[in-house]
Symmetry: C2
């Protein structure tokens, strides 16, 4: 239940990090892009095929040392329905390798529509006599701007599918304060959203003290991360912003409780583009991703003890 399977995967690998699968064509070695273009042309299908090959290489290289992947829906939508097919195949492949999959979609809508998003990403669609998962994620990021009735359908599906959600609380981007830092009744908006996570989470209790309703809190706001850790004892944190966005290990320390759990730190570009930074042979891009994933693991483990 809840986010227990994610927490168990973190304990098993000893690694509280997640690899963000946000593949742009320019992150992918040229030989791999060209192979896909040769087969499918410079089309949406060609791009989607390149993304899939790239993702599989990354997953193969890290699945024994990284507990989870977080594909960012936008990078697949950009390549249309072939891109979405690559998203579905990437999720299927990652799960077949034992990885936990967080779909980063930041979905949000009114209740009746949220039922469809919940079915799409975490549950199943009823089609005639069949029930079929569309994307089959283990967790989904969501935006809570619409309040409780945009969240309830997710809670219901999480209960049935043993899935979880992460609600945007304090995002990693520079302008997150435009709304999130504004003060309501003496507290910033992100506190209120955090409190709602605790409230909604009571419906999905977990066995490690953390509910099935997690929160997204950016590594770029280390003070707020520590502050929220103290205020939201049952809310597990998904922490983007490490690496390319500027957050370091010291910045994410606050996400973790005294037992060293409570959060999972995401790196996307840092891992996917490690081969460029390292300057290794393009054919070794997945090896570079693994080396960076290990470096990141050790970096974080060192500060959370």
């Amino acid at each position: 239940m809840a986010l227990d399977r994610l927490i168990e995967a973190i304990k098993r690998t000893g690694n509280p990090s997640v690899a963000g699968l946000d593949p742009k064509l320019e992150y992918i070695p040229e030989y791999m892009v060209n192979a896909a273009f040769d087969e499918y042309g410079q089309t949406l299908e060609g791009a989607a095929e390149a993304l899939l090959s790239f993702n599989k290489g990354i997953i193969d290289a890290i699945c024994d040392i990284v507990p989870a992947v977080k594909p960012q829906a936008a990078y697949y939508e950009m390549y249309g329905w072939p891109g979405m097919r690559t998203l579905a195949k990437t999720i299927e492949y990652a799960k077949s390798k034992g990885m936990y999959v967080i779909i980063d979609g930041k979905r949000n809508d009114i209740g009746s529509t949220m039922e469809a998003y919940a079915a799409a990403h975490l549950g199943t669609a009823r089609i005639g006599k069949n029930t079929i998962p569309a994307f089959g994620g283990d967790a989904l990021t969501v935006n809570g701007y619409l309040g409780k009735d945009g969240i309830m359908p997710l809670i219901d599906v999480c209960r049935i599918s043993d899935a979880g959600i992460f609600v945007l609380v304090k995002t990693s981007n520079p302008s997150s304060g435009d709304l999130q830092d504004k003060i309501i009744e003496g507290k910033p908006v992100y506190h209120h959203m955090g409190r709602l996570c605790e409230e909604w989470g009571r419906m999905l209790p977990g066995r490690y003290g953390y509910s099935g309703v997690g929160a997204v809190v950016g590594a770029t706001w280390p003070e707020q991360l520590s502050e929220l850790r103290a205020k939201l004892p049952h809310t597990f944190f998904l922490v983007p912003g490490y690496g390319a966005q500027g957050g370091g290990a010291a910045d994410v320390k606050g996400a973790f409780d005294k037992d060293g759990i409570g959060g999972v730190v995401n790196s996307s570009r840092g891992i996917l583009c490690a081969w460029k930074k390292e300057g290794c042979a393009p054919e070794d891009y997945a090896g570079a991703a693994r080396r960076e994933a290990l470096r990141m693991k050790n970096d974080i483990i060192a500060v959370i003890g």
Copy 2:
């Protein structure tokens, strides 16, 4: 520029309404679902094919009297990548019939990711030597919780693609007040979000006084609709909540300015399921949709003069 093409389509048809294409399998006549299942099985492909046939029938029946359609992404995502292919084909078909297409995706993310969503829904992807639109919408609904830098990439793409966005301000659902009605510096959150629409809209001015940054304001909140109309003179409103969600013509009146422009009212289930409510032959589902679309048009026109 901006939302001018939408406003012109509304003027041309004399109809400030939009048909929400939120097709669930249970809305579709059995003969049509069975035909799709016979060809593709009770699969994601079968469901997606039924949705596409249904949508085409609706579009054919209303394209001369309704200026725009609003496909809700969730109902396509529920059927996986085949569903997303139906979304793309539905958009293409509606545009070929001269309709304006608002993709209801409520997308949101940090700047670098929002570039991908903007490309996906309103722009093009660069693939080798080609630039290819993935979904090709004319406008996209978005969630502003992340602030300005989640919006800027959309503004850039809107300028290039002659597209627009609608930012969630006051949503139609019962719990929209959980966050949106909370008071910041003496004003509810939705006022602040509305003010941001005016501010962001200055970057996309339009020739009818309304910018390319519209706002979503639910018909279920008629007082707030009038209040926001007065406060946001350059912000065009997308008004969901008419019909099945309980809003009537009197409730949407406040969305319009003294010249009878300023808003477009959405009905989804009311139009798609008109054949069930009417009790007509299932084969006449599209005719029933047209009759309901005309009824709705006259209903709204009567109150806005």
